[in-house]
């Protein structure tokens, strides 16, 4: 029972999220179609999640919002993990002045509450999905850089690395072939929890009006619009809220699971 609750259910939720995000475009959905007679109509025969304040079907917009959050999460994670890992690995490998400089830079970035910097960046860059990705990546790389650096520092003195150096292997090859495979597990775990954070951050930015712009849908902007009609049409705020919480909860549960599964070292020692 608990295995179903803790693993299969969250996995299904995440898979559904990804599928709707990727194949949402080919589904016969009409997220932008305004049907004036249906304004604020609740769940019923015509639409199982009802209509919003402009008479657009909430379910169709929810799927569109899934695309937004999935796209943003995918790109931000890819960019931050790549940049962060490269910088962190290089910093630990090179050592000396470079390392000192990068550690200082990391300290300074960590001195900002992450979402605050993202809000300011998104506000200055202006709205739009690209700028959301940029703003969240500017904030996001730091954690992975710190983690990768710490990991590389702990393994770079190992014998197999010394052997690779002795054989005259080029530094880039050492980093990719001999260091990266050993530090990848904690990075994957961190990235999994990172997805939950990014989904919330994207919705937060959109809630503040700094994310994607209408008619593009985001769960955050749907919640903001829905909050105005809370008394007459609670489904408008409930549907995106539940979707958001489900995804975040599912990702967090999967992250827990992954951590238990991948954390082989702590189990052995």
């Amino acid at each position: 029972m608990s295995r179903i609750l803790r693993f299969w259910l969250p996995l299904t939720v995440c898979a559904a999220w990804a599928l709707f995000a990727v194949f949402g475009r080919v589904l016969p959905l009409l997220p932008d179609e305004v049907q004036l007679p249906h304004i604020l109509v609740g769940p019923g025969m015509q639409a199982w999640l009802g209509f919003d304040d402009l008479g657009r079907p909430v379910w169709d917009r929810l799927v569109m919002g899934a695309q937004t959050s999935f796209l943003v999460a995918f790109f931000v994670i890819t960019i931050s993990v790549t940049i962060g890992t490269s910088i962190g690995t290089l910093s630990a490998w090179l050592g000396g002045w470079w390392d000192l400089l990068i550690v200082r830079l990391i300290d300074i970035f960590l001195a900002f509450p992450g979402i605050l910097l993202a809000i300011a960046m998104a506000g200055i860059l202006g709205p739009g999905i690209n700028n959301v990705v940029i703003a969240l990546s500017i904030v996001g790389w730091v954690g992975y850089a710190r983690l990768a650096r710490a990991q590389v520092l702990s393994i770079k003195e190992r014998d197999h690395v010394a052997a690779a150096i002795a054989l005259g292997t080029r530094p880039l090859r050492i980093m990719v072939r001999h260091l990266l495979p050993l530090i990848v597990a904690p990075l994957i775990i961190e990235a999994t929890f990172g997805i939950a954070g990014i989904v919330i951050a994207e919705a937060g930015l959109s809630y503040l009006g700094l994310g994607v712009q209408p008619p593009q849908a985001s769960w955050g902007s749907m919640i903001r619009d829905g909050a105005r009609y809370m008394l007459v049409a609670p489904h408008m705020v409930l549907a995106p809220s539940v979707a958001l919480m489900l995804i975040v909860l599912a990702v967090n549960l999967l992250g827990d699971r992954l951590r238990d599964h991948l954390d082989v070292r702590s189990a052995k020692s």
Binding site: I108, A120, I200, M230
Partner: protein, 308 residues
């Protein structure tokens, strides 16, 4: 000890300086022309030049940065483009509201998290434990901007117990404080549980039990004292998250603090105010982190008495 204190202060200063520089650079190096954005595309060239001159944007970047430092030393953050008032004045006006909210949110979180965490730890694997940890997982997964509207719906609109928004009297503080404190309470209760569980296996706890002390005394006086250290660190670290969360919470409840000011400034393209707000919140965060670090050092006899 004194040496440690100075090195901490020095490194905090370097970080604050770095934060200020970064905020300045990020705002000034963003692609696109802030003047263009502020005045719109149809503005006259003369107006643009005038604004650029007022903002000092016509000078080279290093010179602007030096001027920025010089002004910071004098606590001069510039003038708001929107209200034409000195920014320090505007900030001072908004600061009490945010301080009040953050303090209330933190108090809320501590009052909720400690009993919950202790309950979960002392009855590990019981229904209490599962319940408390499920609640905390939910608490982490519900963002402010979902929690806020739901709270308004239930307590202000349906039950009519509390005001919907604004800052008038103590009653209006309750909903924003609960909304802001919820996520912190969730994280904190997990930490209390984990760190208490670790401590409860120690020998001195067994000794305390063996000499017949009441379980309540064992847990709260002997256990919590050691378990508190990591919890305090977390509390300090989480203040930054709390302050950042205040930006959204204040927007949800129209709470007139620094967070709402940041959003208003972004909406009116008042970049100097955005810069000042980010700077203020981040600096507060660095200062609190440094203080936490010091308190931690002072509280932990292993660090205080050990070393040199």
């Amino acid at each position: 000890m004194l040496q440690l204190l100075f090195s901490r202060l020095a490194s905090a200063f370097v970080v604050v300086l770095g934060v200020a520089t970064l905020v300045f650079l990020l705002i000034h190096m963003v692609p696109g022309d802030p003047v263009e954005v502020m005045l719109g595309e149809s503005a006259q060239q003369a107006d643009r030049d005038a604004l650029r001159h007022t903002l000092g944007l016509d000078r080279p970047l290093p010179e602007q940065l030096l001027g920025f430092y010089r002004n910071l030393l004098h606590f001069n953050l510039g003038t708001s483009l929107h209200s034409k008032r000195p920014i320090t004045e505007v900030l001072a006006e908004r600061l009490p509201a945010t301080a009040e909210l953050a303090l209330a949110g933190m108090t809320m979180a501590v009052l909720l998290a400690f009993p919950l965490g202790v309950l979960a730890a002392t009855r590990k694997d019981s229904a209490w434990d599962t319940g408390a940890m499920t609640a905390s997982l939910l608490g982490v997964s519900i963002p402010n901007f979902v929690m806020g509207p739901l709270m308004i719906l239930v307590f202000a609109v349906w039950a009519r117990l509390l005001p919907v928004s604004g800052r008038e009297g103590l009653l209006s503080l309750i909903l924003p404080a609960v909304t802001l404190g919820m996520a912190l309470a969730a994280i904190l209760s997990r930490m209390v549980r984990a760190s208490l569980l670790e401590v409860l296996h120690e020998d001195y706890i067994r000794t305390a039990r063996a000499k017949g002390l009441a379980e309540r005394v064992v847990v709260w006086r002997h256990g919590m004292r050691s378990a508190l250290l990591p919890v305090i660190t977390l509390l300090g670290l989480q203040l930054g998250v709390l302050l950042a969360g205040a930006v959204i919470t204040e927007t949800v409840f129209s709470w007139p603090g620094i967070g709402l000011l940041t959003i208003e400034a972004i909406q009116t393209r008042d970049y100097p105010v955005v810069q000042a707000c980010v700077l203020l919140i981040s600096t507060t965060y660095v200062v609190v982190n440094t203080l936490t670090d010091m308190v931690y050092t002072w509280l932990d006899p292993r660090i205080r008495l050990g070393g040199r």
